[in-house]
Amino acid sequence: MTVTVVACGDHPRIPIDGTGAVIVDGLCTDPGQIRDLDLPWDKVVAVVHRNQHHLPDVQKALRSVDVDPLGAQILSVNGDTDSSALRVAIAGLRARADAFKLTAPEHAKPVFPKEVTRRGFLKPPIPAYVSAPKVDHGTCAADGGCRACVDACPQGAYRWQAGRIAYAKDACIPCGRCVTTCPTGAIENPAVAPEMLEAQIRALIGAAETNVGIRFVCSRGSIDGADGWTDVTVPCTSMVPGSWLLGCLLVGAGAAHAVPCSESGCPLDLDASAIQANDLAHAVLAESGLDASMVVGELVHQPLVCDSIADPFSSGRAAEVMLAIAATAELEIDVRHPAANTGVVALDPMACTLCGQCAKTCPTNSLVEFYDDTTVTISFDAGTCVNCTQCVSACPEISRGAISVTGRIDSALLAAGRQTLNEGEVAVCEICGNVIAPATMMGRIGDILGEEFEATMAVLGNRCIDCRGRR
């Protein structure tokens, strides 16, 4: 695939020399003319002047040359843009555009201008399109009870209905939080695919002549440039987990920072998440004895001396990122933080009945329930836990404190593999010898039902469902 870079020629102050861009006069005001240009139109980066272009017209022009506008990177600049910063930004967007994969019809969300007026309805509105998420029901863990996207969505666009996630596109903004929260990576938004972000960040670092800081910014807002920093646009920085910031450092950035919505003018105003992501990355670096100021959004430093890590932004890769930071520091780390996207589950053996609901719900199979002839075991692998807390929501004994999850990055536990959290005997059928259920669970049911149901429990606790009618 070829990435074509076109830049509007109506703004001579945009310094595009050395970027490889094709200058198109009137690109902002009359983008339809690109149809007449004999260029390879596989993938596109368009450099336009801020507030001078009409997005629906640009998208329409791209469609007319068979370019998917949702994958095209549109860079709006103003006349004060520094030439070397522009060259680096275009290199990054070229890589991001190149890593774009095809969209499905469900990914295109039509949006209209915000103002709604009677006059505006004299003509049908021309939609612009934004890239919306799509749930892959094949990998979604909703059938096990997972509702992580429902909990994460600030707009209530997701609903859990009888083991299936229902998504309302018209309610979605979209902000991308569901994409980074989904424990199984079942929610995909092609405009912010992890491989695109990784390609862009690596290209930005590769193209810069000095140390470079990666700054995640909301696509709805804009901020002024700062020395050494280069922007990576995401739908909203509330989607950025702390592990992404550390991932940037592991691929060679000299600093990384998620700009809170309020600082960039993003109207979603979901500041807390970005602030917590920065705080988490800061805490991990501080605990590791590395320079924690790399994530405060000020100075850009020398990159870490470390082994580069592959695929640091994909779903379920947070544990690898944290272990790579610990390996770089040559220290064990143990950080507790509510925003951690790795977690540690604890079961209280006095309250846990071994019913296994936590394991059935766990979307990443971090918790696993295992039966043999006489015992049932619940085991846990911290390396795959994403701190989604779905196990806590599913636990029927939560009021007795049977289960707890702590957002925690413990490098020893992350590397330890699977460990047993609780085990107990199983009730066995007195006739056929088959396993009925965990003995503690049957005991708990008996306690709840009380003496009145003692006779019933004597049957239920001693005979399997097939043998209950036998004499």
Partner: protein, 220 residues
Amino acid sequence: MIEWTEEARTRQGLYRFLGTAMRPPGAERFALLSSAWVLLDDRDLDTYAFSPVWRRFGDVLMSGGSIGDREVEYVRLFGVGMAGTPATPTESYYRVPQRDGGIADFISTLQREYRSMGLKPVGTAETPDHISTELEAMSFLCGVEAEAWQGGHDRVAMDTLAHEAKFLSGHLAVWVPVFASRTRDADPGPFYGPLLDLIHAFVVHEADLVRMIVKRRALI
């Protein structure tokens, strides 16, 4: 309201075009489709997200191809063959999985909906829940909408748009993506693959766009 009328007429044409394309193939039908494609392609469709798949299907349609091959392909994909039907083109197949008396209930509910649009069931080759019948019903609604815009009856036009949104979200947008996916899985060949890609993209786009317009209008 000229633009609203024109837009409704374009959508009416697109639904009819797709409904016709999903009926059993024939030389006369393909000639009609080719002429209709040229007319519709003049309607500035690049404004909409489905336009690349529209053009791709146009290329296939205009490239000719054997009618016999398409007949074979149609029967293999959507008819009843030795190995069953890879992609059944009727809604009840996807909405009433238990395949019992529920299908009759489903069809009679659908027929009630057609009657509420002002349509009367008469003897046709396809069942009321066949994709071409449902697309044709949407085409009819768009025609009613266009007449209303043209006559200056904005309220009737918006009510019809709301009716379209309801029919799309209650029927076509629910099952067409699954049907299109089944068709793709069945290795559909050079004609019905691009056609189902187009129907899928168009129906999903319509459901989103019409719902957004209705919602937006309600804010005034």
